[in-house]
């Protein structure tokens, strides 16, 4: 076969979408400046950049939600100054957002055709369930779905829901599917499935723009990487050049120290142990685990393996159905977070906005909340003291805010996470539990969170970090415990750290003998 014949259609070498010198100015900020890129059929483009680099602006321009201030968008050789939402849809541009726009209470087929249901029954406008079902089956097949069109959405995992979103995109004959942080909510094994779907799209000649903070996945999947920083295109990497270090360097404009090989602090005494603890997620599986002073213990595993439930049980917000925790020689069975807090066990929860902070309270009010009696004169809140603590924590953690009276909800994700940390660090932690501490946080803030975790360990705090991000687990932990279906499948020491080992244990396999001395 000649190279020409290898193409299914000769035109496919031509980019179907080209952006030239796109510029978008908001009052006070240049969100995007002289940005150019092109997308060819079947191309997978990785789009990376820190939060605020201009990715969302670019997406909004492609979606027709906002118009660029300058520049040309050329689709199929037709240049335009801007797109409308209808233009974007007609051009076959489809979005799969980080927050999936699906209905929990409907089934798969209804979700895919919501608003565009095939109708029957004339003026009664009934949904033609049969036809809808027939239309859905080939779509599900294309995304490799292992669930039925009748499955209630509520019964699907996050990865399966993303497949539904992608099938929805395919149902409108998408030519370009834009995935916005699709893997940040997915556990490791499900990520693999999503990457397979992307490969299938590519094989069909559908282009993909893949936005992710997880650079490893970009390395695996992208044909080309486009790096944005401060609204400008700072580099394009072709297939052969894509590697982690290059991307990170372009994204932040400097070398980032990925915390590897932590200082050889001899791990201290056991701070807290789980002894045969059973949680609601897997009541048949008792979990035993030791947390040591001065050590960051990474807790890896698939979503649903019981990691979050263990953390919540330690913090006293979920009941335990057997076993106990051991703390300072006592048996400890907390039934309320206040009991754990009193013992210096603090949790930075997975759901930052739902459980970590109160978005409508000020920063100062959030920081004092768990320790309010200490910020009170008899029954009355002492606002002066509250502000004092908050100001101190704002300096210590470098929270970026004009004032500690600012509403917490107006901060960026990274700064909200710092508020969660600030409230705990204002008290004296003995055991700090972090559940997915850097999810949805940009790289700069991530590095700060890692540094804080390390500082905590250095002063003797026992740190437990639940993470689904492989780089993070391996880069930050001193030891890694891997959970599989409710039990601790294995504990890895530094010399055994590798992506394969973590993944093998997470999916229930065993790892071979130590390969390295």
């Amino acid at each position: 076969m000649t190279s020409v014949a290898a193409h299914i259609e000769p035109a496919s070498a031509e980019p179907f979408l080209t952006l030239a010198n796109i510029r978008k100015v908001y009052p006070g900020v240049v969100a995007l400046s002289s940005f150019s890129m092109s997308v060819s059929p079947g191309e997978v483009i990785g789009l990376v950049g820190e939060n605020g680099a201009g990715k969302s602006t670019l997406m909004k321009i492609l979606g027709g939600v906002i118009a660029p201030s300058q520049g040309t968008i050329t689709i199929d050789g037709v240049p335009r100054a801007s797109l409308t939402v209808a233009d974007s849809m007609a051009a076959g541009i489809a979005f799969v957002h980080q927050e999936l726009n699906l209905f929990d209470n409907l089934d798969v087929a209804a979700n895919i055709f919501v608003g565009r249901e095939p109708l029957t029954g004339g003026f009664l406008r009934l949904v033609d369930e049969k036809k809808q079902h027939e239309m859905v089956i080939p779509l599900l097949k294309r995304v490799g779905a292992n669930f039925s069109a009748f499955a209630p959405l509520a019964s699907l995992s996050l990865a399966q829901r993303q497949m539904v979103e992608i099938a929805k995109a395919l149902s409108v004959d998408a030519r370009l599917v834009i995935l916005d942080e699709p893997t940040s909510i997915l556990p490791l094994s499900e990520t693999e499935k999503l990457l397979d779907v992307i490969r299938a799209l590519k094989a069909d000649g559908i282009s993909v723009i893949f936005i992710s903070h997880r650079l490893h996945e970009i390395e695996l999947i992208a044909d080309r990487v486009v790096v944005l920083r401060d609204g400008a295109l700072v580099g394009t990497l072709d297939r052969g050049e894509i590697d982690h270090q290059r991307m990170v360097k372009l994204m932040i404009g400097r070398d980032i120290k990925v915390p590897s090989a932590p200082l050889a602090n001899a791990p201290g005494n056991i701070a807290m142990s789980a002894v045969g603890v059973r949680t609601a997620a897997h009541p048949a599986q008792p979990v035993s685990l030791d947390l040591r002073n001065g050590e960051i213990l990474g807790l890896a595993g698939l979503v649903g393996s019981g990691r979050t439930e263990l953390a919540r049980a330690m913090f006293g917000v979920d009941p335990i159905y057997g076993g106990y925790f051991e703390l300072d020689g006592d048996k400890f069975r907390p039934t309320h977070a206040s009991q754990s807090i009193a013992r210096g066990i603090f949790l930075v929860p997975e759901d930052r906005q739902g459980a970590g902070v109160l978005l409508d309270l000020s920063i100062a009010e959030n920081i004092s909340l768990p320790d309010l009696p200490a910020h009170a004169t008899s029954f009355f809140v002492n606002r002066g003291l509250e502000i004092q603590t908050a100001e101190r924590q704002k300096r210590n953690l470098a929270i970026m805010t004009p004032s500690v009276a600012t509403r917490t909800g107006s901060l960026s994700g990274g700064n909200q996470q710092k508020v969660v940390l600030a409230k705990w660090l204002a008290m004296s932690p003995k055991v700090m539990i972090f559940d997915e501490p850097t999810r949805g946080i940009d790289i700069g803030a991530k590095a700060e969170i890692y540094r804080l975790m390390r500082e905590l360990a250095d002063v003797g705090v026992a740190v437990l970090m639940i993470s689904s991000d492989m780089e993070e687990v391996i880069g930050v932990s001193d030891r890694i415990a891997v959970m599989h279906e409710g039990r601790v499948a294995g504990i890895l020491n530094r010399d055994q750290f590798s992506g394969e080992n973590v993944l093998l244990l997470a999916v229930g396999k065993t790892i071979g003998a130590k390969t390295e001395p």
Partner: protein, 332 residues
């Protein structure tokens, strides 16, 4: 005082001015004092309701509790000859028990507040009617309780004591809600119970306490109403009073989702509501239209507030766009 409270105050004064122009009897001391008395009595139950609404809950049994406590209290002092302070103490115990029961069912048994208190509404009304066999509870001719009557239905310096009672209760509740540790917990638990729990707040206790406070204030209001009407027919006494309380809280800026509202707002809400009732009487509007007028005004008020909010938000964004765009262009 927030901007919203100030707006409400201006509205109250404006409505008052208009009514006065049409019917000057509005500002006669006798009318003001009568209205103040009603504000005092309805205000106590509205304060209680506000605390529950602050937690994101609702208390629908208020009217029935006013009837139940009314018949019990009057029967105790008038028929059973129990000294009134003892009877009042017994009513306090009953109110605390009712609040505890509601709170426990809502927090520990995880029943929705609407259902729990709706059942309360039906149950207490039934008990009140059964207790008197549907007869009217009242005082015998010539039966007098001078001290109690002075505290409840009397006046000091021309001001109804019920109104003074409300002001005292409101001052205490203001401190509790806006200055105390418990008040902060109320707002936190009402805004986001999960996050409050994750900060170690015993949200169940906070919510139970809110229902207890509500019942205690409702009990006070029940005694005031009982001594004001002096005869209580258990089938109708206090009917819809929970809705007056909820309406006052909503007018006063409370969000039924919880976590929003102020004591001043609740007070102003009660005043506005009673002013409207008074307006219906003074302007010669048929009293059968009473509910329709009040309902219509609340609807318009909430609608206006909503529209004004989105208008200001739009204007703020447009101003920002207009005011800063040229500056940006020159800076480049």
């Amino acid at each position: 005082m927030t901007k919203k409270d100030l707006g409400l105050l201006i509205l109250i004064l404006a409505v008052g001015a208009v009514v006065t122009m049409i019917n000057p009897r509005f500002i006669l001391p006798i009318n003001i004092a009568n209205t103040a008395n009603l504000v005092g009595m309805f205000g106590l139950s509205a304060l209680g309701q506000s605390i529950v609404i602050l937690t994101g809950g609702i208390e629908l049994s208020v009217g029935s509790v006013i009837a139940l406590i009314g018949v019990l209290f009057v029967d105790f002092i008038a028929t059973q000859n129990i000294p009134w302070p003892v009877a009042a103490a017994l009513m306090l115990v009953l109110a605390i028990m009712l609040g505890l029961t509601h709170g426990l069912l809502i927090t520990k048994f995880k029943l929705p507040p609407f259902i729990v208190t709706l059942c309360g509404l039906l149950i207490y009304r039934g008990i009140a009617r059964f207790y008197t066999r549907d007869a009217t509870a009242g005082f015998a001719f010539g039966q007098n309780f001078p001290k109690l009557e002075f505290i409840t239905a009397g006046r000091s310096f021309g001001v109804p004591n019920s109104f003074i009672g409300l002001i005292i209760a409101a001052a205490i509740m203001w401190i509790v809600v806006h200055r105390s540790v418990f008040g902060r917990y109320l707002y936190a638990a009402g805004k986001n119970e999960e996050a409050a729990r994750f900060s170690g707040i015993k949200t169940d206790q906070v919510i139970i306490a809110a229902y207890v406070i509500c019942q205690v204030l409702t009990m006070l209001s029940a005694i005031y109403f009982a001594m004001y009407t002096r005869s209580i027919s258990p089938a109708s006494h206090g009917n819809f009073y929970e809705l007056y309380a909820i309406a006052a809280a909503v007018l006063g800026g409370f969000s039924l989702r919880g976590g929003e509202g102020s004591i001043i707002g609740a007070l102003l809400g009660v005043v506005l509501l009673q002013e409207l009732q008074n307006l219906v009487n003074l302007l010669g509007i048929p009293s059968s239209l009473n509910f329709a007028v009040v309902g219509g005004v609340i609807l318009l008020g909430v609608l206006g507030d909503q529209q004004w909010g989105s208008f200001r938000e739009r204007r703020r964004i447009e101003d920002a766009a207009r005011g800063r765009e040229p500056k940006q262009a020159s800076a480049e």
